[in-house]
């Protein structure tokens, strides 16, 4: 089932001589369990695509549907509600609230959505467990490492069984081994049915995705999908 659908999406900034087509007629379908990496040079439209997919940018034309809900015409409150219920974000700099501890950070989106606090806590604990960091629940953020913070951010992104995770350069602040660990966590979520859209400039991390979409000047110029059978490999490499 499609969790994210973009059809002929175009986003133009400026007008006249200063007009910039940040996205130009982009169509993309992301199903449950898909792990899609978006790559491309600076200014190719990667972050714009993510912002539009998450309902953070509204000045586009075309059609965008998230979890079956068309975004066209939604007012700000409705968009925020849809984001809280269906879309999780993971950023390079974590975007966690420093005054809250780990479990409070993870429970925050549900509490903002006025979920029963005990249910929010329970869901947060389940999300932390999925990320293998249930033992960090009571820690302050300054007591955990960068890699652990990113795992907390991923737990927050999926809390309440959200099915779409949008990750913008989530390994940018991490060393390659810790970055691999974060990618492995995203991969496991995808294997478990979560749709993951990853923006990255690092091929190493895009390699974890099922599909890699290349953007240039706002257009999709290529798309690769990996076969599930790795038998092709290694021999003869």
């Amino acid at each position: 089932m499609s969790v994210l659908q973009l059809d002929a999406v175009t986003r133009i900034y400026g007008a006249g001589a200063s007009e910039v087509r940040a996205l130009d007629d982009v169509t993309l379908t992301v199903d449950e369990g898909d792990f899609v990496a978006i790559m491309g040079p600076s200014g190719s439209g990667k972050s714009t695509l993510l912002a539009i997919a998450g309902g953070l940018d509204q000045g586009w034309t075309g059609s965008v549907t998230v979890a079956g809900h068309p975004l066209q015409g939604l007012k700000r409150d409705a968009l925020a509600r849809l984001r809280r219920r269906h879309v999780g974000y993971v950023f390079q700099d974590y975007n966690l609230v420093p005054t809250l501890n780990v479990i409070e950070n993870v429970a925050l989106p549900l509490e903002l959505d006025r979920t029963d606090p005990s249910w929010a806590r329970q869901s947060a604990r389940a999300a932390l467990k999925r990320l293998g960091i249930a033992d960090l629940a009571g820690r302050r953020l300054d007591q955990i490492s960068g890699g652990q913070r990113q795992r907390v951010a991923i737990a927050r992104a999926i809390v309440g069984d959200r099915k779409l995770v949008l990750a913008d350069e989530p390994t940018g602040a991490l060393d390659s081994a810790t970055g691999d660990d974060v990618m492995q966590r995203l991969r496991l979520l995808a294997d478990d049915g979560v749709a993951v859209v990853l923006v990255t400039h690092e091929a190493r991390h895009a390699g974890w995705a099922d599909r890699i979409v290349f953007l240039r000047d706002g257009r999709v110029v290529d798309s690769t999908r990996v076969a599930n059978d790795p038998a092709v490999l290694l021999a003869g490499a």
Binding site: M39, P41, Q184, R187, E202, A203, R204, A206, G207, W208, A209, I212, F214, V221, D222, T224, V226, A227, N228, P230, V232, L233, L234, A235, A237
Partner: protein, 190 residues
């Protein structure tokens, strides 16, 4: 050269015969460099000739070999001496891009096609890594080498794409070359 030392390293742990050495070498290097059994026996013959290994029982048809003290010393020297890669190997991709950049070929399309192919290879390596036994450090190191190599190639392709898309630099002597063909020819010769 590495086959010789690979066999010595395996024999340093315990005596073995040719087929055991072949399968053990391939297992430890993630089957990235398959050996044929003829290579193994040729190498063993040379090692034996040089006194670095010795047959345990010359009358035994399985030809089980053991490492000698001289073989151990040779192996230790290899492990403690950095490998110097003096001459870069011929790189077909670099040659292709260099020729494309100096002709009318569509360099951007060539780079994009190559990046897609290398990216697909990198996805396969990552899949192989995911399916690996996490405790098999030797195997993981070899797969990581391939991932890092593919990643480096993609970064290099990105860089080449940037170089190719720069505005063509203009030289102050270019108009002179157009208006004075003879001078241009002289310059080309120099």
């Amino acid at each position: 050269m590495s086959i010789k030392y690979g066999l010595l390293a395996i024999l340093d742990e315990s005596p073995a015969y040719g087929y055991q050495l072949k399968t053990e070498f391939e297992r430890r290097t993630a089957s990235a460099w398959p050996l044929n059994i003829g290579q193994v026996y040729t190498t063993l013959d040379r090692l034996s000739r040089d006194g670095l290994v010795t047959p345990l029982d010359p009358t035994d048809d399985t030809r089980t070999y053991a490492i000698t003290p001289a073989g151990r010393a040779e192996l230790k020297t290899w492990f403690t001496t950095p490998i110097e890669q003096t001459t870069p190997p011929r790189n077909d991709l670099a040659i292709k891009l260099a020729l494309a950049a100096s002709t009318h070929a569509d360099l951007t399309a060539i780079i994009q096609a190559q990046r897609t192919a290398t990216m697909r290879t990198l996805q396969h390596y990552t899949l192989a890594k995911r399916q690996a036994d996490a405790s098999d450090t030797a195997w993981l190191m070899v797969v990581e080498l391939m991932i890092f190599t593919a990643e480096a190639e993609i970064r290099w392709l990105d860089h080449c794409e940037g170089l190719a898309s720069r505005p063509t630099p203009t030289r102050s002597d270019a108009p002179a070359a157009v208006t004075a063909p003879a001078q241009s020819k002289d310059k080309a010769v120099r």
